[in-house]
Symmetry: C2
Subunit: 434 residues, 2 copies
């Protein structure tokens, strides 16, 4: 008999079916009756066990035992989905006789985060935890779908690199056959190089940051959704693609994860056709005038400033997303293109989501001479980035791109309080296991 999923019972009302999955919950009533909740990849269904032999076959089994069930699909308006299984017989595929480190069949997992992470192997089976990572997979799928539709090509660039070139700081060193190598902090240089090949590229892959910060908003390894495109007018062309991508991600999630969104009580964010945007010095002026804090002339926005701008976008523009454009050149990397009308500021942007930075992007320099000047102005040598620079000797169009932190996106969307909850097996300064 072919296996049926718990979500498919309605198709088999009145039939005997075979199910398989984890014993999510077992309740043994005083009357002798037993209720089993069976969890499979499609959801959970209830099995009513009354026959003494069937009850005996579950003797001693604890939650998470893996079982096969044959039984009759019966209408039961009280049961989730409207159906349950009667007259079951069981085959035990894998018996669990140890108690779980913490229960995973409650709506909320009460384990301390460290305890949870130590036992993520089983903790992730909890439906509310599963839901986070189904959303995460859907976000990545939506990202791809939106960019595929716009003629982007997916690329895979190396994670082991020969020179710690992009910033020099915060890179992990590797012993590479006796030589020193490094883990890539981002695919920035490679995705720019690949604009010369495919015009429009994206990459979904791990990035590695040796930042010595142990906070709720840092991971030392995370997933970066990177895109880069050529033949742009300036950073506003990149912003237009990014808006399309964000809406694509949200709509993919809405279309594929309604159950998960409901389970996690996620309200879909307001993402209008055009996100509001504010020029960096104008944002500072607005803060000065409306919030009484004078941050004018400072080179960056503080978290509180971003929060205020997020509130403004929501109240005035009905948007959970808002661009801040034109960050000062001094705070942006050497490859950033300046605003031609005021070169103190850059043709770059951050996208704030619910008042916190989610995406960084902008236009890049595209001429070799501009790179040579930018490196000199920052006291950097051309040698360290020689391979990258060669690209710009051989014809590069105006181009730009952006990077979205996948875990951060999911954290903000779901309202998680710690970025570690958005990574399957997070890596931080202290944590390398499991």
């Amino acid at each position: 008999m072919d296996r049926v999923l718990s979500s498919e019972l309605a198709l088999h009302a009145g039939e005997r079916v075979r199910l398989a999955g984890w014993m999510h919950r077992i309740r043994r009533l005083g009357s002798g009756m037993v209720f089993v909740h069976l969890r499979d990849r499609s959801g959970i269904c209830q099995i009513v066990v009354e026959a003494p032999e069937a009850i005996a076959s579950l003797d001693g089994l604890l939650a998470e035992s893996v079982i096969e069930v044959e039984g009759m699909v019966a209408v039961e308006p009280q049961a989730a989905g409207g159906f349950e299984i009667h007259n079951p017989t069981f085959i035990v595929l894998s018996a669990v006789t140890d108690a779980l480190p913490f229960p995973i069949n409650k709506p909320v997992i009460n384990a301390h985060l460290d305890t949870f992470l130590d036992h993520a192997m089983v903790g992730l089976r909890a439906p509310s935890k599963q839901a986070i990572f189904r959303l995460s997979a859907a976000a990545a799928h939506g990202f791809r779908e939106a960019l595929d539709a716009q003629g982007f090509t997916e690329v895979t660039t190396p994670k082991i690199i020969g020179t710690a070139s992009e910033s020099g700081a915060n890179v992990f060193a590797i012993d590479y056959f006796g030589r020193q190598a490094y883990l890539a902090q981002s695919p920035q240089f490679y995705k720019q190089i690949m604009v010369g090949v495919f015009e429009r590229v994206y990459e979904i892959g791990p990035v590695f940051r040796a930042e010595p910060h142990q906070t709720v908003r840092h991971l030392n390894e995370y997933v970066s959704l990177d895109a880069e495109m050529g033949f742009i007018k300036d950073h506003t062309t990149v912003m237009a693609v990014l808006m399309d991508v964000i809406r694509g991600m949200l709509s993919y999630m809405a279309g594929h994860c309604s159950r998960e969104l409901e389970l996690l009580h996620v309200g879909m964010p307001l993402a209008p056709e055009v996100f509001p945007h504010v020029y960096f010095p104008d944002a500072q002026q607005w803060i000065y005038e409306h919030k009484g804090e004078d941050c004018r002339g400072e080179p960056d926005l503080a978290p509180q400033h971003e929060k205020w701008i997020g509130e403004w976008a929501k109240e005035v523009h009905d948007s959970d997303f808002v661009f801040v454009t034109g960050y000062p050149m001094v705070k942006r990397p050497f490859y950033t293109a300046p605003n031609p009308k005021d070169p103190r500021y850059s043709n770059s942007f951050d996208l704030l989501f619910r008042g916190t930075e989610l995406v960084t992007g902008g236009q890049r320099l595209n001429r070799f001479d501009d790179y040579a000047r930018a490196l000199e102005a920052r006291g950097m040598t051309q040698d360290a980035v020689a391979g990258y620079l060669e690209t710009f000797r051989f014809g590069m169009p105006p181009h730009g791109g952006f990077a979205i932190g996948l875990e951060r996106f999911v954290m903000q969307l779901v309202g998680l309080t710690n970025l570690r909850e958005a990574a399957l097996f997070p890596r931080d300064m202290e944590r390398l296991q499991p």
Copy 2:
């Protein structure tokens, strides 16, 4: 005027259009006339330049200069695609005045592989090189699409790991905030753990092998297409999914990359509904009887043996793919499930593609006690794999999976002679740049 792509000229016959791209080739005729081939992400089109001012605006420009063109779309049966551009005017976005390290506008790139790889930044722009990586992206897309359709969930597992657990050998060591950590050789343990969460998972990501081999078939970083699934009967359930995936990858490539397949003269492989398969000791017996070489009792097949089996599959079964099942347990990792009828052999398989190993897979152990015995038999401690083992204390179904090396798949498909040609920026013992 909106930009038009070179592949869209037929839609604009008789109109003036704006194009942008790289000057793939420039031919200055004695008559003064100039022919420019413009390359953009959709292909190449020809521009005929006759007006003296237009010719003058291209003065001194070498191949790969980035230009914008406005001109008239004219029917020209001789031109590729049947159209070309007349009466153009040019804007130079990025002038190239240095000669390329080697020409990239020839059908075949004649540079030595090392020279090519040193300058991959521009070498990859050659249409024949682009085509390889478009095929590679399509292969990954086809893999995803096939598994999405079968209820698999995409996961991302950590690449920095705390213990060099899977084999202990051939791992790269990292300095992780003063502690030793390692780069993941494969997502094997994590994808098995995730079967407990989602039943069916896949991951596309980099893997890192510190193998000290400098051959045409080794890379130290490559892309692994990994899948793992629960509730299998045995390895044959996994093989059925793999056949579906391989056919899905090929059909995605055929549907999306006809131009690339043609350019690279790729004959699509024979992939019947059911691939032929042969049991390991039977393969050895067949080799003994038909090829006169006695390899019976040896624990593995040599490359020549795989080649013979590939030829047999092609001749007798019209298939470029053939499974060899039941590899001896001694050559398989500790998590491999034995053949219950003859535990010297395993419930595992290799899939050969055109006579070379492409995929390894099989059924895994799923009970804690079996793991404990398998580790003891190999003299391994439980401590080194404690987190992974905990998974099996808490209910795991019979499961199995496989891993496809993406670069190897593309190499075999296209008929490349060196695996480095299938990686954008390959990493080997000597090469960390670009």
